[in-house]
Amino acid sequence: MAGVPGISLRGVSKTYRGRGADVVALKDMNLDCPPGSFTALIGPSGCGKSTAMRVALGLEDYDAGEVRIAGQAPATATASGITGVAFQDAALLPWRTVTRNIALPLEVLGRDPAHYSHEIANLIELVGLKGYEAALPGQLSGGMRQRVSIARSLITSPEVLFMDEPFGALDQIRRRQMNVELQRIWLETKSTALLVTHGIDEAVFLADYVVVMHANPGRVVEVIEIPFPRPRSDELYSTPEFHEMTDRIARVLHGQ
């Protein structure tokens, strides 16, 4: 697989045909996520960043262009179990326990969850939920539910990991804690990661590349490389280099 990009979108366009007005969600979008890299997709609401991720996952059709995940079409890649996904909302099934929610992708892929009990237990420990194996989502806090959803996204040992604002519903303090944890988990798994977010400091803290998008029509305006060494710690947030980087991205976001 050497040399094959983890995720690649080439000239992808998508238009939502509504009553009266058509909305161009994506126009001639190009995106390359090298294998093993962490890419953050950032932009204002409605710039098409979530659409781009849904297209890459095969959840939405697109009008033109080409999408490849590990060299395969999205539907083939997802059905072969090499991808993992975490959405903005934890989207847990309310009637399933933590363990059975984490096992859901296995059932969809037609694998026997019983063979994965060891992996599930490890993931529960990894996200710090030991002791909550039999809890229902309604008994967990918002942060705990998000951690279940992160564990669920990792159960297939994905080569490619998609995250759509996975911590969007959390407060700033929790978010920073979860970002540190997410980095630790990602460093252990060594997958190709694509994070959709509208938090600038979250993108800078986590990513190797920050891809900035603009709306109307949805398009990529600049790709910025983030050179900070890993593992990155909480102290990074207070350094002048970090602030310089966030200011630069903010300027690109505001079209300056």
């Binding site: 959840l59 179990g81 959405f87 989207a91 099934l93 009637w95 992708p105 892929l109 989502p137 008994q139």
Partner: protein, 525 residues
Amino acid sequence: MASDRSFWRSPALRNLLVLLAAWEVIGQLKLVAGGALPPVSAILARFWLDRADYPGHAAATVWSSTLGFLIGNALAIMAGVLFVLFPRLQRLARGVNIAVFALPAIAIAPILVLTLQGIAPRVVLAALGVYFVTMTATVVGLSQYDSRSADVVRAYGGGDWLVMKLVRLRGAIPDILGGLRIAAPNAVLGAILAEFGGGGRWGLGTYLLGSLGRGDPARLWGIGLMATLIAGLSYAVFALISARVLGSTRSVTLNTALPPGDGDANAPLALKIALALGAAALPFILWWAFIRLSGVPEMIAKTPWGVVDYLFIADTSAVARAKLGAALMQTLPITALGMVAGLGFAFLLAISSRMMPGFIRAFMPIALVTQTMPLVALTPLLVLMLGRGISVTLWITISVTFFPAFVLLMQGLQRVPQSVLDLPRAYGASAWKELRMVSIPAALPYLFAATRLTVPRALLGVMIAEWLATGTGLGNLLNQSRGYLDYGMIWTVASVSVLLSVAFYYLVLMVERRTLTRLGMQVVE
């Protein structure tokens, strides 16, 4: 759920005790129609004397309603799943669904007794009583799934079937249980109506029919309360199950994504027209097939064409039309009047309940209990108290429209967020202004839904009253035609009452869509 639980606590329990005490006093003093309302103690004493009769009759009713409940719900859930998987099938079946919903059970009870054997009429009527409720609950439950959970399944390459299996079916269970809860008393009502409509030796309906002539109020009350108890218990069983199942499995956050739209909106026009025509024709095709398959002689069992022939072509058609016309002129005005009064009363009480929430909380459980009282059992009691005049018909119509409308309106008003209610107040609006700006518009969609949904019940109530009490209108025509073996008229009354109820349903739906679209509101299913 809150109302189910609060029933066992005060003040509902206290109100019940007060009600029973007042009942006893009024009964002892013979304050209502010279003893038509016997004291509770007299009803219990009579019940004790009749204790040998009850087990057999009650068991027969429970047996046939249980069978009907099982068969009807199995069909309803299967139909619901199919309708969700194949929306075009649902369009095709729309006519049948509406017809089943609008069927005034009393009109087809004699037909079923004519065409089927043994307890089959009871089972069929019980099954018809549950089908629409459960089918609708299944469709609603399966349609309102959490699109985010479905995305997770699809993101791993899962297709429609896996989404159905892992997300939608389990997610629909609370809705289906809610449907079963409402359907259970309907099954009991259907079985009793069929028992009452003829044949058989056992069953509470048969017992009621046999006891009507004796004019013993305590006996009639005993049967009525027994029927209510069975229906109420069946409701309670499912209320309990759904409270257990719901527990902690409700979605913990609100899904803000829009539900997937009607994918069939841009289907070719020809297909749409074909489906609409098919939907209108299908009930008649099924009717025709039912007659052919049951093998009942044509003289007794009329096909759709047979009814047209009877009403417009045969030598006696002029007489038949005159009879039918006269009956309709008696039935329709009283139904309309009763509905307007019942709905208006429910509307006023519901919107003013904002000012006296305590009273409503205590009143709701009693309203729910009366909902489970089988109409056939209620009517003779009202006749005892109100006599055989027009007022009994009016009261029945008011009561069958008032309670469902009130319950629906209250549910609607409870969905208005507190902040919306607080906003006018925060700008110093008076209570009246708040009502006018928030509560009344918020209740409007539910008033329309209540009107549409109570039409068949109102027609059923009027026809039962006419059959049992006043000797006028469609109900009486149906009863007389049974006596004269005028099969053509039986089928005619049955089909006309169904058509009327369907026509009225669509009329309200049309006005409702226009009005609510103008106000930017959603139609309540």
